[in-house]
Symmetry: C2
C-alpha cells in the first residue's frame, strides 16, 4: 500500500506492528425506505444485529466502533450518535467515534475502521452508517442536506442540491452532448437492479418514458433523476485477515482505501463536469491495490443524481471523460455487462439514507463477491469498488474489495 509510509524504530516506547490486511467478516442492513414505524436506534440495531450474526460474532469481541451519520442533529435532534449506538448495541466501554463528511459519512467511517485495523490498533471493528430522514418535513431535509455544500455561498442563495447537480448536468450536456435520455438511462438501469433487491426502497422498474415525463425538479433533472429521501442503516464488521478466517468462510478483503478533498463550493472549481476528488481518490486506490479500472467487475458508485453516475464512471476511469452518457445508454454498465454498476439499485433505486449509503455500498459488494446477490448476482465477480461522495464532490472516498 504505497501511501503508507515507513519509519525507523525510534525508542523503547515503540511497538512493532505491521500494516495488516483487513477483511469484512459480517454485514447487515435494514430495508431502505420510509420507516414510519421505526426510529433511528431501531434501524441501526437491526443492521448491527444482522452483521454480528452474519459474522458469528459476540459483542465482547468488538474492539471499537466507527459510525457515519450526516445530519442526525437536524433530522432527529440527536448528536453523539456513536456513543448512543455503542450503548444500544451493548458495546460499552469501547471507543465509539462518529465521522461525518455529508453523504460520504459512511464511506469515511469505513475508511477509519479500515485504518484502525490495518494499523494494528484494533483487531475487530464495527462500522455503521445510519440516517433517519422522514421524521421532519421534506423542506427541512432539503435544508439540512444543503449543509453538505457551501451553505453561505450556495444554500443561502437558494442553491439546493438538485440545482447544483443540474448545473453540472447542463454543462455536461453542453461540453459532451450528453442527453436527457442518457441520464434517464441511469435511472432505468438502477430501478431495474433495485427491483431485484429486497432491501431497496423502490421495488419496480421504470421506463425511459416515465423518467422523461416525471415532474421537473431542477431542469434538466426530473424527479426520477434524483435519489429519494430514505431511512436506513447498514453495518459491516472488519477484522484483520488472520482473525477474519475465524469468523467467515468467505471474508472479503479491502485491498485499497483512499480519500480526497476538493472545494466545498461548486463555483470555485475549474470544471463543472468532473469531480477532482473522485479522480484523485480513484488513482490512489488503484495504485494501492495494483489494479486498474478495467479490472473492476462490480461497482457501487455515488448516483445521488443520474448525472452524478455518468460523471462517476468517467472520473473512476471506466469510460473516457464525456462518454459516460453514451456508455450507459449502450448498456456498458448494465448488470453482467462490461462493469456492473449499482447492482443494489444505487442511491437512485435502493435509496439514499445519507450516512448509511457508503456502508451499504460495502454490504452490496460483499454480497456480490460472496456470490450471494441472488437475482442480481454478477457472474464471476472478483473485484469490487465503492465510490462515495460528500456534497457536490468536496469529499470522495474509494475502496476496492476482493475475495480472499
Amino acid at each position: 500500500m504505497q501511501n503508507f509510509k515507513t519509519s525507523k524504530l525510534e525508542t523503547v516506547y515503540c511497538v512493532v506492528v505491521f500494516m495488516r490486511r483487513v477483511a469484512i467478516v459480517g454485514v447487515g442492513m435494514s430495508k431502505f425506505g420510509e420507516h414510519w414505524e421505526k426510529g433511528f436506534r431501531d434501524l441501526i440495531i437491526e443492521a448491527g444485529v444482522q452483521a454480528l450474526q452474519d459474522g458469528n460474532l459476540k459483542g465482547e469481541e468488538i474492539d471499537a466502533l466507527y459510525g457515519g451519520t450526516m445530519a442526525a442533529g437536524r433530522l432527529i435532534g440527536q448528536e453523539h450518535i456513536t456513543a448512543l449506538i455503542a450503548d444500544y448495541m451493548g458495546l460499552n466501554p469501547i471507543p465509539a467515534t462518529r465521522v461525518e463528511a455529508a453523504c460520504a459519512s459512511g464511506g469515511l467511517a469505513l475508511r477509519q475502521g479500515f485504518m484502525a485495523v490495518a494499523s494494528g490498533l484494533h483487531d475487530v471493528v464495527v462500522v455503521g452508517g445510519v440516517e433517519k430522514m422522514t421524521d421532519v418535513s421534506t423542506a427541512e431535509v432539503t435544508t439540512a442536506l444543503g449543509g453538505a455544500g457551501d451553505q453561505e455561498w450556495e444554500l443561502f442563495m437558494g442553491a439546493t442540491f438538485p440545482s447544483i447537480y443540474a448545473l453540472m448536468a447542463r454543462r455536461h450536456m453542453k461540453e459532451y452532448g450528453t442527453s436527457v435520455e442518457q441520464m434517464a438511462a441511469v435511472s432505468v438501469k438502477n430501478h431495474l437492479n433495485a427491483a431485484k433487491n429486497k432491501f431497496a426502497q423502490f421495488q419496480k422498474p421504470v421506463t425511459l418514458e416515465e423518467v422523461l415525463e416525471s415532474k421537473e425538479v431542477s431542469s434538466p433533472l426530473k424527479v426520477l433523476d434524483c435519489s429519494p429521501i430514505t431511512d436506513g442503516a447498514a453495518v459491516v464488521i472488519l477484522a484483520s485477515l488472520e482473525k477474519a478466517k475465524k469468523y467467515s468462510d468467505c471474508p472479503i478483503e479491502i485491498i485499497a482505501s483512499a480519500q480526497a478533498s476538493d472545494t466545498i463550493a461548486l463555483h470555485d472549481r475549474k470544471s463543472l463536469t468532473e469531480l477532482k476528488a473522485t479522480q484523485i481518490a480513484a488513482r490512489k486506490a488503484f495504485q494501492q491495490a495494483g489494479v486498474s479500472a478495467k479490472d473492476v467487475d462490480v461497482a457501487e458508485v455515488h448516483d445521488c443524481f443520474t448525472i452524478a453516475e455518468i460523471m462517476a464512471i468517467e472520473d473512476l476511469g471506466f469510460v473516457e471523460k464525456g462518454k459516460g452518457g453514451k456508455a450507459t445508454e449502450d448498456g456498458f454498465t448494465a448488470l453482467n455487462s462490461d462493469v456492473s454498476v449499482n447492482t443494489s439499485g444505487g442511491l437512485k433505486g435502493c435509496g439514499h439514507p445519507v450516512g448509511a449509503t457508503g456502508v451499504k455500498q460495502a454490504v452490496e459488494i460483499t454480497w456480490q463477491l460472496r456470490g450471494k446477490a441472488g437475482e442480481r448476482q454478477v457472474k464471476n465477480a472478483e473485484l469490487g469498488l465503492t465510490h462515495n461522495v460528500g456534497g457536490s464532490g468536496a469529499t470522495a472516498v474509494v475502496h476496492l474489495f476482493k475475495k480472499c
Copy 2:
C-alpha cells in the same frame, strides 16, 4: 503503549511500520468569547494560521486534517465542515475528516490525529476544533446541546444539561457532603486563572459570594457554576517525533491517548457521582505512559459545570472519590499547588465552544510544558493531562503530554 497490538507480517501487501512517537509542533487559538464580528470560518482560519506559523510549517507539508465540531449543522446550518476547513486553509486535496462526540469532539479529533501519525499513515496532521454558538438564540443552543445526551429520554422530557448535572451535584452532596461553597470554589479558581489568560472569555475574577448569589439555573447550580456559550477555535499540529524536531525547538510529546464510552442516558448508570468512561480512559492512559495521577503537574479537565470538575479530579485519581469538593476548597488544584487544574480558566472561565474545547486543552498544556504560559505558568511543569467529556459522560478522552 500497551493497547497497541502486534501482529506478524502476513503478505507482500504489508509494509513494515512502527507505532511512532507523536509530538505537537504548532498550536494556535482564537480568543474565546462572543464574536459577533466573526464567522465560523474566520475563527478556525485564525487559529489554523497561528498554528502553522507557530510550527514554521507550510500548508503543503500537511498530510491530513481532523476536525472536531459538535453541532455546526444546527448552529450555523453547515455540515461537512472539515472539507470546508481544508478548502479555506488551502489544504486540498488531503483527506479531511470530521469527528463528533458532543463536547468531546475536539479530544476525539486529537485522538484520531494522534492515531494517524502513530500508526505511520501520516507524518504531519493538523487537528482543529471549532464552534460558533452565538449565531442562534440561547434557547436554540440549549436544545442543540441537549442532543449530546439521550434526546428521546432526557431532552424531550425537559432535561437540559444544567439539570442533568444538577442531579449529579445533588447526589454528590448527599453521598459525600459536598457543599455549594465547594462547588463555587471551582468557579472562583477558574475565573482567577482565566483573568491571566488573554484568550479567555472572562477576564476578571469572581468572589465566592458572587458565585453563591448568582442566579439559579438548576438548583443547586447557579449561573456562575455553569460554563458559558462561546465562539472559538483551536488548532494543534502533530508530527512524528522524528519530524517534530524540524519544526519545533520544544516539541511536546503525546505519551498516551485513551477513549472510553458509557451509557448515553444518566438513568442507565449505577452511580450518578462518577463518570465510568473517565475512570476507564484515565486508567488506560496512565498504563500507556507508565505514570500515575500523582505525577501530573498540570491538567485541563472538563468543568462544563463546577460539579463536573469535582467529579473529574476524583475520577482521574488526583483525589479520592468524594474528596473533590474539600480538596478544591483547600486549594489542592489551585495554580502552583499540588496539581494545577484548569490553568486556562477551564470551560468555566476560558469559555466552552464545544467542539474546540478538547483541542484548546492541548494548546494550553503545550504552552504550560513549553514554559510559555505567562502569569499563569505552572513552575517546572513536566507532565500534563487533558480530559474531555461528551454529554453527561457517554464519551471521555484522556491524553497525557510531556516535554521531549
